[in-house]
C-alpha cells in the first residue's frame, strides 16, 4: 500500500485499458441519445448522475416523447438490482472507507470498476484512493465521451458497423478470465451464462441479468455444500489479470 496519490494513480492506470474501450461506447451513447431528441446538456447530466452504462442504453432505447416515467424507473430498478449484489460483495472489502466515502463510492460504481476493485481486495487491501482512482477516471471518460457524442456523434456514422459495440463484451471477458481459479469457476460461468442467455431470449426486459446471477451464485453454493473437503489453497488462488 503506497501513499494516497500512488494508490489513486495505481487505480487509474489499472483501469486504463477499460477506459480505451469505454470512450467509443460513450460516444455511441451520446449519439443515440441525441437522435432521441435529448439536448447535449441533458445527455451529459444523465451520464453524470445516473452513471450506469447498461441502464442508459436500455433507457434511451425506450425513450419517447413524453418519456414513460414509470416504465423507465422500473427498468432502472430491474437492470440495477445486480448492484445490490455487487455493493454487498465489495462493501465487505471497504474496511478503510468512512461512512460518507462508502456512499460516495456507490455513485461511481460500474461493473468494470467493481471487478477491478474486487481483484485489488483479493490481492491485498482496497484503499479509498485506489477505488476512486478507478471511479473518477471512468466517470470523466464516460461523461465527456457522452457529451462529445451528443455534439458531434452524427458525423461519425454508426459505431456498431465497425464492431465497436463488442468492445464491452471483450472487456468483460478479460475480467472473467482474470477471475478464473478452477473448475468451480467454470461451473459458475456456464450456469450463469446459459440461464442468462435463455432468459434473455424468452423473457422481455432486463430480467436475464438477475436470473443468470442467481443461477451462478446458486451453483457455487451447491458445489460448496457438496465439496466441503476442498483444500483451502485451491479455493483462494485467483488468476492474475493480464494487463
Amino acid at each position: 500500500m503506497g501513499t494516497r496519490t500512488q494508490e489513486f494513480s495505481a487505480g487509474a492506470v489499472a483501469i486504463l485499458p477499460v477506459l480505451v474501450a469505454t470512450a467509443p461506447i460513450a460516444l455511441l451513447f451520446g449519439t443515440l441519445a441525441a437522435a432521441k431528441g435529448l439536448s447535449a446538456f441533458e445527455i451529459w447530466l444523465m451520464s453524470a448522475t445516473v452513471y450506469a452504462g447498461a441502464l442508459q442504453f436500455v433507457a434511451i432505447d425506450q425513450w419517447a416523447d413524453p418519456a414513460p416515467i414509470g416504465l423507465l424507473v422500473f427498468t432502472a430498478l430491474v437492470v440495477n438490482v445486480r448492484h445490490i449484489l455487487m455493493g454487498a460483495s465489495i462493501g465487505r472489502a471497504m474496511t478503510d472507507f468512512s461512512g460518507p466515502a462508502r456512499y460516495a463510492s456507490m455513485f461511481v460504481l460500474t461493473d468494470e470498476g467493481w471487478a477491478f476493485a474486487e481483484r485489488r481486495a483479493r490481492e491485498g487491501s482496497l484503499t479509498p484512493a485506489y477505488y476512486f482512482g478507478i471511479g473518477v477516471s471512468m466517470c470523466l471518460v464516460w461523461t465527456s465521451g457522452s457529451l462529445l457524442g451528443a455534439v458531434i456523434g452524427r458525423g461519425l456514422g454508426d459505431p456498431s458497423a465497425y464492431g465497436f459495440n463488442f468492445a464491452f463484451s471483450a472487456v468483460f471477458i478479460c475480467i472473467l478470465v482474470g477471475f478464473w481459479s478452477n473448475w468451480r469457476t467454470g461451473a459458475v460461468l456456464a450456469s450463469s451464462g446459459a440461464v442468462s442467455a435463455m432468459v434473455y431470449l424468452l423473457v422481455p426486459g432486463a430480467w436475464y441479468i438477475i436470473a443468470g446471477a442467481f443461477a451462478g451464485v446458486g451453483t457455487a453454493a451447491a458445489l460448496h455444500v457438496q465439496g466441503d473437503d476442498q483444500k483451502p489453497d485451491e479455493h483462494k488462488t485467483d488468476g492474475i489479470m493480464p494487463s
Binding site: P17, V18, V20, S39, F41, E42, L45, V50, A52, L55, A67, A76, N80, V81, R82, H83, I84, L85, M86, G87, A88, S89, I90, G91, R92, M94, M106, F107, L109, D111, E118, Y162, G163, F164, F166, S169, A170, I173, C174, V188, G193, A194, V195, S196, A197, Y208, I209, I210, A211, G212, A213, G216, V217, G218, T219, A220, A221, H224, V225, P242
Partner: protein, 100 residues
C-alpha cells in the same frame, strides 16, 4: 443549453433508483453475517454477475459475436486487455464482412 423540466425530473428519478440499489448493497447487505455456504456464494458473485450481463451479447447475437467471444477467451489467457479488445473488435468486423 436546453433543459426540459420533465426530462430533468425523469433523470433525477432514474438516478435515485440506481443509487438506491447500489447503497442498499454496500451499506446494508455488506454488514450481514455470513455462514460458509453464503460466503462461497458471495465469492462467486463477480463471475456470476459479469457473465450474466454479457452472455446475451456474446451468445445470442449471431455467429460473428460468438466467434469473437471465443477468440477473446483464448487470447485473454495470454494477452493484455487492450490486445484482447482489438482482436475481438477486428474478429467481429471481419466475420460480419465475411458472412455478409
Amino acid at each position: 443549453m436546453t433543459m426540459d423540466p420533465y426530462n430533468l425530473t425523469l433523470i433525477l428519478l432514474v438516478t435515485l433508483a440506481t443509487f438506491a440499489m447500489r447503497a442498499v448493497g454496500a451499506v446494508v447487505m455488506a454488514r450481514v453475517e455470513l455462514g460458509p455456504v453464503s460466503a462461497a456464494a458471495f465469492e462467486a458473485m463477480p463471475v456470476a454477475v459479469l457473465t450474466a450481463v454479457i452472455a446475451p451479447a456474446v451468445l445470442t447475437q449471431g455467429v460473428p459475436e460468438a466467434i469473437a467471444g471465443g477468440m477473446a477467451v483464448l487470447v485473454g489467457f495470454r494477452a493484455p486487455t487492450a490486445v484482447v479488445i482489438v482482436v475481438a473488435i477486428a474478429t467481429v468486423a471481419a466475420m460480419r464482412h465475411l458472412l455478409g
